[in-house]
């Protein structure tokens, strides 16, 4: 009892018997929540980015409440298996402007645009997140293998990475799409995998050079001399210090992957019937929405896409600041 009143015990280590739950929570809050928040206050870019993406998520969630489940994802109906979702064609009256009964209007093929965006935004984001995760994973493994094995392994990986980077990703995607699924376009999942296959060289290059630098740092040398194995060094010493770089490359890879899906779908090489953002742009261009004055059809997906990219860009710029403290603003 005496101990808890002692001034030195005001910061009680988590897990000692005397602490109550509320004290433990307070400690965690003080040590784990406040410092990052305090840092965020200085890193305004990251805050802006997080706010934009958070706001977008909130909008999508709110419009989920606006619809019934079967209106969004549909149910199989009738002999021809047509889905009844509002985001597939010919479900609602076409060409309604936003001032009618539909909040964002309807498109020329009879889709509810808000329903389309509500389903499409998470779908497009999902492609980006999955593709980037696979890409970063492969890139990271190759980077560590290259940096640690050295010699000819490193040489082969480096030559491969350096020779793949100048090839424009979109044109390789075009070759993949036109040859694997001629005429129909890649499905959403195929697209994610195809983009993942193309998105590892960039991260591999960045992480490899960081690993090479980090391997010579004092604390890693220290760990090596005290008998820590390579895996121990990689996971216990390097990973925590690499985290900002990996996160920054991940956000960059997500941006690249989303850009690639939207691009390839705009060309009509994705699944043009899936309710993704890119497929929406494909139909807008294909059916000449602007020529017919259907501005609302273009307006809402453009706003969503711009918000998405601006949010990701700001987060990645903010992460850059975490990863390279030299870039931090000198006031």
């Amino acid at each position: 009892m005496q101990d808890t009143t002692h001034p030195d015990r005001s910061i009680t280590p988590v897990g000692t018997e005397e602490t109550t739950f509320s004290e433990r929570a307070a400690t965690v809050y003080r040590e784990r929540v406040i410092p990052p928040l305090r840092y965020l206050r200085r890193n305004t870019l990251m805050v802006f980015g997080l706010c934009i993406l958070g706001g977008l998520t909130l909008l999508v969630l709110m419009s989920y409440l606006f619809y019934r489940q079967e209106d969004l994802y549909g149910e199989i109906q009738g002999v021809n298996g047509l889905s009844s979702a509002l985001s597939v064609p010919a479900r609602v009256k076409p060409n309604w402007n936003p001032f009618g009964e539909f909040p964002l209007g309807t498109d020329e093929q009879g889709r509810d645009i808000l329903a389309h965006l509500t389903v499409g935004t998470p779908l497009t984001l999902r492609i980006g997140l999955i593709a980037a995760a696979i890409g970063i994973g492969v890139g990271m493994v190759l980077a560590f293998v290259a940096a640690y094995a050295g010699g000819w392994v490193d040489a082969v990986i480096r030559v491969l990475v350096d020779s793949l980077i100048p090839i424009p990703g979109l044109v390789i995607l075009i070759i993949i799409a036109t040859s694997l699924t001629p005429g129909t376009g890649l499905t959403v999942d195929q697209l994610a995998v195809a983009i993942a296959v193309l998105s590892w060289p960039g991260p591999a290059r960045v992480i490899r050079s960081q690993v090479l630098v980090m391997r010579e740092r004092g604390y890693v040398q220290m760990a090596r001399m005290s008998g820590t194995g390579s895996l121990g060094i990689i996971f216990k010493e390097m990973m925590p210090n690499l985290a900002p770089y990996i996160l920054a490359s991940y956000v960059g890879a997500v941006t690249g992957a989303i850009l690639a899906t939207i691009g390839i779908e705009t060309l009509g090489l994705g699944d043009i019937d899936a309710p993704t953002l890119g497929a929406m742009l494909y139909w807008i261009i294909e059916l000449g929405a602007l020529l017919k004055g259907q501005w609302w059809w273009l307006l809402s997906p453009t706003i969503v896409i711009v918000l998405l990219f601006v949010g990701l860009f700001m987060i990645s710029a903010g992460l850059d600041e975490v990863a390279n403290p030299r870039l931090r603003r000198r006031v």
Partner: protein
Amino acid sequence: MVLKYIVSRLAMFIVTIFVASTIIFFLPRMTGQNPLEEKFYQEAQRGGYLEDVDEIVAAFEAQYGFDKPLWQQYFTFMVNLTRFDLGRSIFSWPKTVNQLLAETVMWTLALSLLTAFIAFGVGTIMGALMEWKRNNTFLMVSFFPFMIWAAVPYFIFGLVLLTVFSFAWPILPGYGGYQTGVVGWPNWAEWDFLVSVLKHGTLPALSIILVSLAGWAMGMRGMMVTTKGEDYMLLAEAKGLPGRVQFYRYAIRNSTLPQLTGLALQLGLIVSGLLLVEVVFAYPGVGGMLMSAIRISDHAIIQGTVFVLAFGTASATLIIDMIYPFIDPRIRYGAA
């Protein structure tokens, strides 16, 4: 040392081209589809008779060398590529892919080089000024729109420009590379034609320039923060050098190298973006041709175009890598 660097960089270039062309050769052949057969059966159905199609297909397959074993096809493909022979189009037979590319490649090259130089030059200097003259209101205010522009894909920004300047307030054309429907055009000697080309090029060029200019400015601004704190900047100031010399000779020159590295790394992305802009504006460049080839699945054109794009991007990267040392004497050939 110089020779060693040049040779190793050239070897890299050859590996890039080799990898790209191998992908271009094998991916379409992995799936076992037959574009020739498809085409002729389509034609035959359209014409209403199905006589001798197999013989015709066989004859054309012999023309394309599809009857030979795969390794032999691959060998011929690679040998032809070294002579820049991209074969013949399937749907516009007997035009060669080179002939078709010749009609479009200049448009793309002009658009991309012009926009790249303007955006990189202006963007770099503006970004540097943003950090250099921190009390300039115009530069401070332009930070925020730049931040947003830098993040947006070219073609999305292009769609916005198209909506605003071609439909809402129609002052610029948003379709094609020149005004169509005039007899005798394209005629490069005619003044009106040149004006129409410029007018049509304005929106596509602007959508690329504004976005990438903002990107370079943001990057350069970040680099200047670091450069401003370096000791040699302090020395330059202490020596009493005029502000202009400090800015151009000391600050810009030292922060440009990472920008150039960024340019080399992003060329692939820039080319991808350019293709989409061409599609949005129906510009008569390589992107538009690729798009129409995809529509009719003319694999010869698709493969040829993709090869040319990969080749062009790799060459541009090579050129940038070669001019590093002229910009930054700290870089020694071979040291990297």
